[in-house]
């Protein structure tokens, strides 16, 4: 995998423009063009706003996943984690109504609770992976099942619904705009910038890359591997809790079907964006494009009836593979360089 890193780094220095690194951006542009040709309404302001807002959930979670994957880990529990955090938030806010009324305080209590739960859940994943010495895949597979069944249990098999009056106070967090952009998009932007800075401009980001490339070497280089790895899961947990905070006001409910398969969408967004699944190389910018690509595919499929509904999964799978092939495959590579 280091070879890939080298290959993608070299031409960018030589030519100034790396076609492969631009792969996700090209894929997104092509998708948008297809969408526009199918139906000009695709580029209407309303649809673009919907697309960006929708991407925010997966996008924010995927920014966290970029850290985990760059450091050589994986987190399968994020979808279930989002569901259980959403569920507990709703329970907490509903029961806080008696004491704190239906105002902003209650919403803030809910959000605080979400962040604490997210950090806690991330810490559990990280701690079990590093100190427990269990593979991340197994740890998070386990917590995925636990969180999913917990939300079913809290909801008594049904759906948890937010108190109607709090919904009125909380609703603007999803539906309102600020300088022309919906609030979830702003959160997405802030998280992305913070993530980019952390990964590319801090020692912590370097450590993540180093651990993902070669954990033993990182350890001998006096990097506190366990601490850094645990922190990546904590960041992931924080991202999940932020995504949940903007998800809950959308429909004001949580059930066992909340956040199903979000983990795979987040991982797909990260990989489409150019981060290497084995770790050692991560790109936040790519991740954001990856999240946008995934949402755009679903959006375009809803904009046409040319493709049978039953083939939606096929189209999504094909586009994901093509998008990754665009930046990994042999095409366009100088033969003599091989």
């Amino acid at each position: 995998m280091t070879e890939t890193t080298m290959n993608s780094a070299k031409p960018s220095l030589l030519r100034g423009f790396d076609l492969k690194a631009a792969g996700p951006a090209i894929a997104l542009l092509i998708l948008c063009l297809i969408g526009f040709l199918l139906n000009p309404a695709f580029l209407s302001e309303g649809n673009i706003t919907n697309l960006l807002t929708r991407s925010a959930f997966i996008g924010i979670i995927a920014v966290g996943a970029t850290f985990v994957i760059t450091a050589g880990g994986i987190d399968l529990s994020v979808g279930s984690m989002a569901a259980v955090i959403a569920g507990v938030m709703i329970i907490v806010m509903n029961s806080a109504v008696d004491t704190f009324g239906t105002g902003v305080t209650t919403v803030l209590i809910g959000c605080g609770c979400s962040i604490i739960l997210g950090l806690g859940a991330g810490l559990v994943n990280g701690f079990l992976t590093t100190k427990g010495k269990i593979e991340a895949f197994i740890v998070t597979l386990g917590t995925m099942g636990i969180y999913r069944s917990l939300v079913t249990y809290f909801a008594d098999g049904g759906t948890l619904s937010l108190n109607y009056d709090i919904r009125g106070v909380y609703r603007p967090v999803y539906y309102d705009s600020f300088f022309g952009l919906p609030i979830p998009v702003w959160v997405f932007i802030v998280v992305s910038i913070a993530g980019w800075f952390l990964l590319n401009r801090t020692a912590f980001g370097r450590y993540c890359t180093a651990i993902g490339s070669n954990e033993s070497v990182a350890k001998y280089s006096a990097i506190k591997v366990d601490r850094v790895k645990t922190l990546t899961y904590v960041i992931q947990g924080l991202c999940v809790s932020l995504a949940t905070i903007i998800y809950v006001p959308r429909l004001g409910s949580a059930s066992s079907s909340t956040g199903v398969l979000w983990e795979l969408e987040a991982i797909a967004a990260v990989i489409i964006g150019g981060t290497v699944l084995k770790g050692g190389y991560g790109r936040i910018g790519g991740t954001i494009l990856g999240a946008l690509i995934l949402t755009t595919i679903g959006n375009i499929l809803n904009f046409t009836d040319m493709i049978s509904n039953y083939l939606n999964g096929t189209m999504q799978g094909l586009i994901i593979i093509v998008a990754v092939w665009l930046q990994r495959g042999d095409w366009g590579r100088n033969k003599s360089a091989d």
Partner: protein, 317 residues
């Protein structure tokens, strides 16, 4: 041989002692269904518990044993236990899946128990004595019939479907058959997987794509909740726009009772059908009339007039 007989006699004595003296004239009915993991099933669980309370209070000699199982093989084991441990006289079963549970149910039948199958049929005919189910094609047809009363020639509707399954196809095909020839245009249909989030997103896209939509068939109450949120976000919830869901969620029915114009009706596919099945099964032991047969429940159109009789505020669904 003698020792064996002795052991056998001892074992029988022990079993009688364990199950209690009343077992001789107690009618034991096992009720087996999947562990609730979604709201509809949670509603079914609730109605099963209510029916158990009610029937056991009504008939002191009836003992209903409720068991829920997380997967098909667990349900098969649960059925074996109901026969071997409880020695049931009748079984009410909502099979997890038809194929893997056909044989286990057949084995229960061989033990001499009366069999009532609910909602999902077995893959072999003739096993069940009583069959109780909702009516999927009728749900589609009744929904379309209502659409026709509200819309005129040239009006546009969009359809949100469930998870691609036989149930979804039956509902959708019946709906389309009834709409045909009415002049109402079905602009497009997309799967929203009986899920609020998907309902929201698919409806958002329909709204961006089609400037003129007069009504929405959401097929399911969960999808309808997402659809309503999308309509409100886009400010297109006025002008006589309406959404028809299905199933009979308590919030939806409450809305109908309160005169909600956006979701004015609902079409019943009731989780309470398990209670119907339990009632019929108990009647098989108590009624002087014959009860064996197929009970296909109506897909009743719930309107403000009749909504109260389908409203269960304490049920999770």
């Amino acid at each position: 041989m003698k020792t064996f007989t002795k052991f056998g006699a001892l074992a029988t004595a022990a079993t009688i002692a364990l199950t209690g003296w009343a077992s001789a004239d107690t009618i034991k009915i096992g009720v087996s269904y999947p562990t609730p993991t979604h709201a509809w099933a949670a509603g079914m669980n609730w109605h099963a518990e209510k029916a158990e309370e009610r029937l056991e209070a009504l008939y002191p000699d009836v003992d209903l044993i409720l068991v829920n199982s997380p997967d098909p093989s667990a349900q098969a084991s649960a059925l074996e236990d109901l026969v071997s441990v409880h020695g049931i006289d009748a079984l009410v079963v909502l099979p997890f899946e038809s194929e893997p549970l056909t044989d286990p149910v057949l084995n229960v039948k061989k033990s001499g128990a009366l069999i009532t199958v609910v909602d999902r049929g077995l893959s072999q005919p003739g096993i069940e004595d009583i069959y109780v189910a909702g009516n999927n094609p009728e749900l589609g047809r009744v929904s379309a019939e209502y659409m026709k009363t509200r819309l005129k020639d040239g009006d546009n509707i969009v359809v949100l479907r469930g998870i691609p399954t036989l149930i979804d196809n039956e509902r959708f095909d019946a709906f389309m058959a009834e709409i045909e020839g009415s002049g109402i245009n079905v602009l497009d249909h997309k799967h929203a997987n009986w899920n609020r989030d998907d309902g929201f997103e698919v409806m958002q896209d329909f709204l961006s794509r089609f400037p003129d939509i007069d009504a929405v068939w959401a097929q399911d109450d969960d999808i309808a909740i997402g659809v309503v949120a999308a309509l409100k976000q886009a400010g297109r919830d006025g002008d006589g726009m309406f959404v028809v869901g299905g199933a009979g969620m308590k919030e939806t029915i409450k809305g109908i009772m309160d005169g909600n114009e956006l979701v004015p009706v609902d079409v019943l596919y009731p989780p309470a059908m398990i209670a119907t099945a339990m009632d019929v099964t108990v009647s098989a032991f108590k009624s002087n009339g014959p009860v064996a047969g197929r009970y296909i429940l109506g897909a009743t159109l719930i309107t403000p007039e009749n909504a109260a009789s389908f409203y269960f505020p304490d049920s999770p669904f």
